[in-house]
């Protein structure tokens, strides 16, 4: 009896987690509160059972996350007795960086990319787990599971270490680090099927509900608090919406939907066929923008 595809993916991810813990000094898991993070956490808990998680979780809080994400995060941390570190770029807060006044690119750079580097440097983490998948975006299809970063956290796509079998080269020099992606070989459908089968809790924002939204540049933006400036020609409407991906609320477009259960989400996903990152505004700047951001240190 051989393993089915989800069991194989599960075993591969567990193997990756154990390899990192056995070979690194100070690993951390980047926790974004998204569905992929929840799957990653679920797999990590399996890898080290019956013990507890042998590394902390790091959430880079841009201060613009949906309120429901933050409360969900704190609930999960309490439930599993996790060592949760939250980092905010205070410098950016003092300068009043906001996606509305500074634009999505500047906001993402300062509150996410720079903030992440700050947190990694301050804590001297040598390995950071991330929930990225190869099917998400073209430049990720080429990234290794163990993705080596220079002292300045840069990714060099032309100088990646060959990665053979499941033998991972975990060696690094001082101040260098590795980003490790245990979900590399999962697809969006795999993630949803696994959440369904394993009954993994996720932020309710993924499920359709009546939420206040405004239509802006072709995207439905949720009015999560009163920091969002409402233009004269805009109207806040209550609509049945859900989110296919979660980030900063001003940068994450909602989709109109009636899917209120995991099964219905999968059903809707299979029938509508719009790819996942479409709701994220940062990807659409230019052709290879994600690759550029990755080279600069964005996850």
């Amino acid at each position: 009896m051989s393993l089915n595809h989800l069991q194989k993916l599960e075993a591969e991810s567990i193997h990756i987690f154990r390899e990192v813990v056995a070979t690194s000094q100070n690993p951390v898991m980047l926790y974004s509160i998204g569905k992929d993070s929840e799957v990653m956490l679920h797999l990590a808990l399996k890898a080290f059972a019956p013990g507890s998680l042998p590394f902390p979780l790091l959430h880079v809080d841009t201060t613009w996350k949906f309120k429901e994400m933050i409360s969900f995060r704190d609930k999960i941390a309490k439930e599993h007795n996790l060592n949760l570190l939250v980092h905010i770029n205070q410098d950016g807060v003092e300068k009043g960086i906001s996606p509305f006044t500074h634009g999505s690119a500047t906001h993402t750079d300062i509150m996410k990319t720079v903030a992440l580097k700050q947190a990694l440097n301050e804590n001297r983490f040598d390995v950071a787990f991330g929930g990225a998948r190869r099917d998400e975006e073209k430049s990720r299809a080429k990234e290794r599971i163990f993705s080596f970063r220079s002292e300045t956290h840069r990714w060099n796509p032309k100088n990646q270490r060959p990665e053979l079998w499941n033998i991972y080269n975990t060696k690094i020099n001082k101040d260098e680090s590795v980003r490790v992606f245990p979900l590399s070989n999962w697809t969006e459908l795999d993630i949803w099927q696994y959440i369904h089968i394993e009954k993994i809790p996720i932020v309710p924002l993924y499920l359709a509900a009546k939420r206040p939204v405004v239509k802006r540049d072709g995207q439905l933006i949720m009015v999560d608090d009163d920091r969002i400036p409402i233009h004269e020609n805009e109207q806040i409407k209550q609509k049945m919406v859900r989110f296919r991906t979660l980030g900063c609320y001003p940068l994450t477009g909602a989709v109109e939907s009636k899917a209120a259960t995991i099964e219905e989400i999968i059903q809707e996903m299979l029938l509508t066929r719009t790819s996942e990152r479409h709701g994220r505004i940062i990807d659409q700047d230019m052709g290879a923008s994600m690759e550029q951001k990755k080279q600069e240190g964005y996850f």
């Binding site: 060696k171 070989n185 029938l271």
Partner: protein, 628 residues
């Protein structure tokens, strides 16, 4: 996926149930830029409905901007990921693509075909169970087809699909197809493939990819997708002897001690008698923890944690097997390796060898032969360059449990890591262990290093002088020896003059010889230190790795590295032997500082400046340092 729409719409629960039990197939596609490989993969993704609406609109946009198909959709653009590739119009690295049908989930390793990227193909092939070889029907079997086939076979792939593409350009000619098929089977008969399936296709037009082409009535074999969905991949690992390489010891509290790892072959049950290698400790399985909790049985592919009846000492890198099916252990074996780095192999240099979960130090002791990947002929050679394949003997500094690569891919594979740059420089497949004709055991003698040193009233050590030619190494070493001698110490000075003419007269100045030169000097120094002497060694010794190698031959505190730090301009100005002049004029090759690198020591015990200080002062300084 659209043909499933009704079920998805009508009864999503049953649909999900039917999808949860899919099989998994990983394959690799090999071919060159012009064979239509990217087009084929793009077509598989497109036809299996894995392209989303927004990607499709982006694709249409890109096709107009970068495409090579006029106003038609250029499927290749769908899979060519990186910006640099888009500009050059080629794939430069391994990319992984995903698609699934109702029967299977697929991962495709998309690898480039041009010569300089053999390493990427090996990488993609290492995790694949099947290979699609792209053939341009107009060109037939090319050198690169042979090269790809060889690498695929070396990495242990047993199932090959010959996708004979661009059939539309030869009018779907049956004779051409059959000729290529026949030639390929003749060529591949010794490559160990279990199954070769030739399929006539047009990736561009979609013939015989998913749907049967109406232009190939003469063909009655499977469509490409049909074959991928149904080909039986024998999981030899399921019936093979049980192997659990230990990855991590799980010890959350005093009551639990588990050994975690992924089962690389066979199966195990609670109560089975086991042995842990290489130390050969035995016990019984008490408990098995799988991904979803306790279980009685575990098999190939599962990531598990086991607990044993007895408290035996097992650590990462050990292998647990059933008592009556134990693997061999060895510290010397023969293996095929593929060199994957710009810096070539140096036989004799210590590298890190990472097998499954175990990192040891090892050296390539002998390059038996190189294999020309184009002709498959054996050639002799002293080293392996990037993308070259060789059969080598490897010696490790400790024993490992292993199986040959053909028996168990996990137990027989390894990567080679450069100790200084941490680059992955090669991958290897173990063939068999080397049994030494007679094991040479180190003679335990009563008179030892300590007693010999004591008799001479000194501490045996090596003063290793390194620096550029003309930096003043020998001058300073001579002075230090004179002073030590005057103090009644027993010394010996090794330098180019007394080593190059005798012991190492067979060695030249190319990299491989430089390494061997230093290795021999290191071994001689080691014997002299064992004899209780103070050895002064004055050699350019340009590479960090070799100096480190000698350092590791000695005991702690015995090796003192002295960097004679004289700038190149000064050495060249002095040029006492006229060597720089010769090197600059091109009459002396591989001269350190001119056309060969010198790697400055990072952790020398002593650094001396010959510009500021006189040799006499420096010698005194070294003696003072030694007295401390």
């Amino acid at each position: 996926m659209s043909h499933q729409s009704e079920l998805i719409e009508g009864d999503i629960s049953s649909y999900l149930k039917s999808q949860a039990e899919k099989e998994f197939l990983r394959f690799i596609t090999c071919g060159s830029v012009d064979d239509g490989k990217s087009t084929l993969i793009g077509r598989l993704l497109y036809d299996s409905k894995m392209i989303f609406e927004d990607q499709l609109s982006a694709l249409e946009k890109d096709s107009k901007k970068f495409g090579t198909q006029g106003h038609n959709i250029d499927f290749a653009l769908l899979v060519d990921g990186l910006a640099a590739e888009r500009e050059q119009g080629i794939t430069i690295d391994v990319a992984y693509r995903f698609f699934s049908t109702n029967k299977r989930k697929f991962i495709v390793a998309d690898t480039p075909g041009h010569e300089q990227y053999t390493r990427n193909m090996a990488t993609g092939a290492s995790t694949a169970e099947l290979a699609i070889l792209m053939i341009d029907a107009r060109k037939g079997i090319l050198t690169q087809t042979k090269r790809h086939s060889f690498i695929v076979s070396l990495l242990g792939i047993k199932h090959v699909v010959l996708a004979i593409n661009k059939m539309d350009l030869i009018g779907f000619d049956q004779n051409v197809f059959q000729e290529i098929d026949k030639n390929y089977r003749t060529f591949a008969k010794d490559l160990g493939f279990h199954n070769i399936e030739s399929i006539p296709v047009s990736a561009l037009e979609g013939d015989n990819i998913i749907e049967k082409s109406n232009k190939t009535d003469w063909y009655d074999g499977p469509m490409l997708m049909e074959h991928l969905e149904t080909v039986q991949i024998e999981e030899q690992n399921e019936s093979a002897p049980f192997r659990l390489p230990i990855q991590w010891v799980n010890r959350p509290n005093l009551d639990f001690r588990g050994f975690s790892g992924s089962v690389s072959a066979g199966s195990i049950e609670v109560g089975d008698d086991i042995i842990a290698l290489p130390n050969a400790k035995t016990s019984k399985i008490k408990e098995i923890l799988g991904a979803s909790g306790k279980k009685n049985h575990a098999a190939f592919g599962e990531a598990i944690t086991i607990c044993l009846e007895d408290e035996i000492d097992i650590s990462r890198g050990d292998v647990i097997a059933k008592l009556n099916e134990r693997p061999e252990t060895t510290d010397q074996f023969q293996a095929h390796i593929i060199w994957m780095h710009e810096e070539h192999l140096l036989p004799g240099r210590p590298y890190l060898i990472k097998t499954n979960n175990q990192t040891t130090e090892g050296v390539v002791t002998e390059l038996k032969h190189k294999i020309n990947v184009n002709s498959l002929e054996h050639e002799s050679g002293k080293t392996l360059e990037l993308n070259e394949v060789g059969l080598v003997n490897i010696s490790l500094n400790r024993s490992i449990a292993y199986d040959s690569y053909t028996e168990n891919k996990t137990m027989g594979s390894f990567i080679i890591i450069d100790k200084f740059t941490n680059s992955t420089v090669a991958c290897g497949m173990i063939k068999f262990e080397l049994r030494r004709a007679s094991n040479v055991h180190w003679q335990a003698v009563d008179v030892d290093k300590k007693s010999r040193s004591k008799q001479k009233h000194q501490k045996a050590k090596v003063l290793w002088f390194t620096g550029l030619s003309g930096s003043g190494k020998s001058t300073i070493a001579n002075l230090v020896e004179k002073k030590l001698h005057a103090m009644g110490k027993h010394t010996y000075l090794l330098d180019g003059d007394n080593v190059r003419h005798g012991l190492n007269k067979d060695l030249g100045f190319i990299d491989v010889d430089r390494v061997e030169n230093i290795r021999r000097i290191g071994e001689v120094s080691k014997l002299m230190v064992d004899a209780g002497l103070i050895v002064l060694a004055a050699f350019i010794s340009p590479y960090r790795a070799e100096r480190q190698m000698v350092r590791e031959m000695m005991d702690k505190d015995e090796f003192i590295e002295i960097f004679v730090d004289t700038p190149l301009e000064i050495c060249e100005e002095r040029d006492e032997k006229g060597l720089y002049k010769k090197a600059r004029s091109g009459n002396l090759k591989n001269f350190t500082g001119v056309d060969s690198a010198y790697e400055i020591p990072n952790d020398a015990e002593i650094v001396v400046n010959t510009v500021k200080y006189k040799p006499e002062d420096i010698a005194n300084y070294i003696l003072k340092w030694m007295a401390q």
